[in-house]
């Protein structure tokens, strides 16, 4: 029986295994050095915050794996010998494979800052990072202040985590407005405001110079490059992005860029070895996507796709319309299609921005300046229906059509106040159009799916 070995028990590896099992009877082994069972990395924050225990972040009960004949192996792979199709583990053990899927995910970036390996300095990626945080920041007596370096999605989650235990946080962000590489200015400004409202000491447009140690080799303070200011702290969180976790492949014959280079079939240059998830790097970017997409959803989609290929249905990785979501403290964010921030915005992309006069609710709709084709939407504090936008993007609907049918896309809980009327009115006013908002129609909604 063909033996499929998967390195990495994250979302991509596990999805691949599940779908291979659905489609075939092959022998499947998943290897991980991190945890025995699959857990949801995206939920790490909730464990520290006390919303959940670790066991709640495991999407499958422990019996699931044996029942589905998915073998689990705990161990760290140090070497891949592709000639003999053999893996070597840190403890010297070996394992043979017929087909290998590399799904080793990411690791936190470190940019060679002085002091970056001191005690009390950590990323927030693996379960072990959470344990370190629990050790150095169990409460606000042991950790009197924490400094977070890097203003991305993980950075703001870490800030929220620390804040849940009343630990004062200083948040260093290189950009001059939060996440403005991705978000349009109005939205980014709203998030800045929201971060400050939570009493997080947000410092925009600054970089880390160095991390200083006390006499025990533990972090004592950090220095800001631009101002030379020294900030005393007990914990430093490094959240300046992630990069593929592929160092162990350096000696192998597998072609690496920043990640494991793969073609559209998710194949590496070596026969019978595939790579998926955060660690995979496309030779050429697909559409507006980046060559490395370190998000949950793409890991899952690659897992579904590679399973098809391995089970005799050769299939290109061909993601559909981009979507994503996050939560900035109390503000939920969803996006469908492409809405660019200042950076990298195509010249034809025009924005329509609506913001609630008082609350933290806003949307930005991107459309083509000339053709008025709808390109994408960002929503903050308003939930929207994935199916609706996916369909409208496929059908290349106009921005006018999308706005007229916006009520069909609303996904807020029942009885919530709806804002479509205001949104459409503002658009009509700004663009001298005469769009009439259509009433929500179940018939149309069900044609979405």
């Amino acid at each position: 029986m063909e033996h499929i070995v998967i390195i990495g028990n994250g979302i991509s590896g596990v999805t691949a295994a599940r779908h291979i099992r659905k489609l075939s009877d092959k022998r499947i082994t998943i290897i991980s050095a991190e945890t025995e069972y699959f857990f949801s990395r995206t939920a790490l924050m909730y464990i520290y915050m006390g919303h959940m225990k670790f066991e709640h972040t495991q999407p499958y009960e422990n019996w699931f794996w044996e029942k589905n004949r998915i073998e689990l192996k705990k161990g760290f792979v140090t070497h891949i010998n592709d000639a003999s199709k053999e893996l070597v583990f840190a403890n010297g053990e070996t394992m043979n494979y017929d087909k290998l899927i590399i799904a080793t995910g990411s690791k936190p970036n470190k940019f060679g800052w002085p002091g970056q390996d001191l005690d009390g300095v950590m990323g927030m990626y693996h379960k072990q990072d959470l344990e370190t945080l629990e050790k150095f920041a169990p409460n606000n007596k042991v950790c009197k202040r924490a400094v977070i370096v890097g203003g991305g999605l993980i950075g703001i989650e870490l800030a929220e985590m620390l804040q849940s235990r009343d630990i004062p946080v200083t948040f260093l962000v290189r950009e001059n407005s939060f996440w403005n590489g991705v978000l349009p200015a109005g939205e980014s400004a709203m998030i800045n405001e929201h971060i400050k409202e939570h009493h997080i000491d947000l410092r925009l447009g600054v970089n880390l110079q160095e991390i200083k140690a006390d006499e025990h080799g533990k972090v004592k303070s950090i220095i800001i490059k631009e101002t030379g200011e020294e900030i005393a702290c007990d914990v430093v969180g490094l959240t300046a992005g992630v990069s593929p976790n592929v160092d162990f492949l350096k000696e192998s014959n597998i072609e690496l860029g920043r990640g494991v280079k793969v073609n559209r079939m998710l194949e590496t240059n070596v026969k019978d070895i595939y790579a998926i998830g955060d660690c995979a790097e496309q030779h050429e970017a697909i559409g507006n996507r980046r060559p490395i997409e370190a998000v949950w959803y793409t890991g899952r989609m690659m897992g579904e796709t590679v399973a098809q290929t391995i089970c005799g249905n050769p299939k290109e990785y061909n993601p559909g319309h981009w979507f994503n979501s996050a939560k900035f403290l109390d503000i939920e964010y969803q996006t469908y299609g492409w809405v660019f921030g200042e950076r990298g915005r195509p010249e034809y992309e025009q924005h329509f921005h609506w913001k609630h006069p008082k609350k933290h609710l806003c949307i930005t709709v991107a459309f083509h300046k000339e053709t008025h084709e709808f390109l994408g939407i960002n929503t903050f504090g308003i939930r929207m229906r994935h199916h609706a936008f996916d369909k409208w993007l496929t059908e290349k609907r106009s921005v006018e059509y999308v706005l007229a049918h916006l009520a069909d896309a609303n996904f807020d809980p029942e009885f919530y106040k709806l804002h479509e009327k205001d949104i459409v009115a503002q658009f009509n006013q700004e663009h001298h159009t005469n769009i009439l908002l259509k009433k929500r129609s179940w018939k149309r909604i069900f044609q979405f799916s």
Binding site: M52, R300, G320, F323, P413
Partner: protein
């Protein structure tokens, strides 16, 4: 603000402590004249009972209700035993022993509590309410930005089955045991609500009035907590208002007022088979003998179960009842909210749930069938089984132990919907309708789920919501009470409770791959089917 909370907590605990020691205060003395009066009023024919009491109790002063009650109970037991042996059925005392003893204790109890009902009401209920509110309301200022704030829930001994949780468990279980089985021990509690009872119905408070009043108070106070916690979520605000309204108006005030108008006590929203004794002979007799209103209740109760309930479930799901109307659900959603995450999500628990809850439904239906047969045929055994025995067994095991002692007592251990999930026969019935013929579903938002597990953790019904959401599948489960909390806690906006067209495909569809993939992949999968 923290200081105010501490003061609140102290006041609340003081109120609770005083409430707890009340039964130990006061004195009970039965005079010969009083005994004669009771014998007269109750039409007791057993000289033995009177003799027993005269020997053991009359003329003595008891400083706790415990020995006093146990004397009465043993007087009844002893007399009954001998009358049974002699087949003197007319002399036997049929009333429940502790209810009998309760009536006497309530009548003759003396002491500071009875003399100062208002004062003791304030020292117990009053302090409890003020303290709880002082503890709850500062949350508004401590957490001024609305949103899901479940911080520290699994770190606190009150909510992670820690020592506080076990303590609350013992307290609640103790309370229910006294309430259901030893009302004679808690006459002092009933004294303090006498003035309120009298002002509503003109009667002295029974232990059930005490319970109803306490229930309303607890729901209102904890309802205020819900309003603050979910102030950003209109579904939760409205739902909380609705359960409070139905509890206070339908379960508490209207029945009491009806009694004062000499109508039967009836809770118009309490549907059979949750209201398991609706079709019992005694109830049917009472209703039939109560004129127009009795007949109206009889018709309404029947229509409620046979027509209103399933039709409403068809349009809105069982939530219309379980999370918007029901009193058990109301308590679970207010007092029980801090414990919702303690429900068991395992597949095993689901298997047990299905057997148990449907078992209770079958039990309730068989029992009712037997009773009705017995009523119309005027017999008291069916298939050689005494219907009274069946009814008593159900009342004890399901009505009291399961619904009360376990259902509420176990909040801090098994979560807040133990009864609704494992025991309630009405929920089982509503669930069958919801599962097979309803517009209600929880829609999953395409591919947005990140499998974090918040939804499953906070589902009080122990539904593994994530198992569906992460597959892009809608949640259609008989046990879902539509509380909406899974949707509220989801950090990615994945879940929406909605009533859409009832067509199998859109409601149940299990996508092969999740939305976000290339559309062609969907087509290919279609072709390969």
């Amino acid at each position: 603000m923290k200081a105010i909370q501490h003061i609140g907590l102290s006041l609340f605990l003081a109120g609770l402590a005083i409430f707890t020691i009340l039964p130990f205060i006061g004195s009970y003395e039965l005079s010969t004249e009083k005994l004669d009066e009771i014998v007269q009023n109750k039409g007791i024919k057993s000289e033995l009972f009177v003799k027993n009491l005269q020997e053991s109790t009359v003329g003595k002063e008891f400083s706790t209700p415990f020995t006093f009650s146990s004397n009465i109970v043993s007087a009844i037991e002893d007399a009954n035993e001998k009358h049974e042996a002699n087949q003197e059925w007319d002399k036997k005392i049929w009333e429940k022993k502790h209810s009998f003893s309760y009536a006497i204790a309530k009548d003759i109890g003396a002491g500071p509590v009875r003399e100062n009902k208002g004062l003791f009401w304030f020292l117990t209920f009053g302090l409890g309410i003020i303290g709880a509110l002082l503890f709850i309301i500062p949350q508004l200022y401590l957490k001024p930005i609305p949103g899901i704030k479940n911080n520290g829930i699994w770190h606190s001994a009150a909510t992670n089955r820690g020592w506080i949780g076990w303590f609350v468990f013992l307290f609640l279980v103790g309370f229910y045991i006294l309430l259901y089985f030893f009302p004679d021990y808690i006459v002092n509690w009933t004294y303090i609500v006498d003035p309120i009872s009298q002002s509503i119905s003109g009667n002295m408070a029974s232990q059930w009035f005490l319970y109803g009043f306490l229930y309303c108070v607890v729901m209102v106070v904890m309802g205020i907590r819900m309003y603050i916690k979910y102030r950003h979520n209109k579904y939760q605000m409205l739902r909380t208002t609705s359960v409070l309204f139905f509890q206070i108006a339908f379960a508490f005030l209207i029945p009491e007022i009806m009694v004062s108008l000499e109508m039967p006590w009836y809770d118009f929203k309490n549907a059979f088979p949750l209201d398991y004794d609706f079709f019992f002979e005694w109830n049917l007799k009472t209703l039939v003998n109560s004129g127009f209103i009795g007949i109206f209740i009889l018709v309404w109760g029947t229509v409620l179960t046979i027509v209103v309930v399933p039709v409403m479930v068809y349009f809105f799901g069982k939530r219309w009842y379980c999370s918007w109307v029901c009193g058990c659900g109301g308590l679970a959603e207010t007092l029980g909210d801090p414990y919702r995450h303690l429900s068991d999500k395992s597949l095993r628990a689901w298997q047990i749930e299905r057997w148990l809850i449907h078992g209770v439904l079958v039990f309730a239906i068989l029992m009712t069938g037997m009773t009705l047969y017995a009523y119309f045929m005027e017999v008291d055994t069916v298939f050689g089984i005494k219907t009274q025995l069946v009814k008593d067994t159900y009342g004890f095991l399901i009505g009291s132990i399961f619904a009360g002692v376990i259902g509420t007592g176990f909040y801090p251990i098994f979560g807040n919907r133990v009864w609704c999930r494992f025991g309630c026969p009405l929920a089982a019935y509503l669930g069958l309708v919801q599962r097979f013929k309803s517009k209600f579903r929880i829609t999953t938002n395409g591919g947005q789920c990140i499998s974090c597990g918040n939804c499953s953790t906070y589902c009080e019904q122990g539904i593994d919501v994530r198992a569906y959401a992460q597959k892009g599948q809608n949640i259609v489960r008989s046990s879902c009470v539509g509380c909406g909390i899974c949707s509220a806690v989801c950090p990615r906006g994945v879940l929406k409770l909605e009533n859409g067209p009832d067509d199998g495909a859109t409601r149940h569809q299990v996508p092969e791959v999740i939305l976000g993939n290339d559309v062609n992949l969907f087509e290919m999968l279609e072709e390969n089917k």
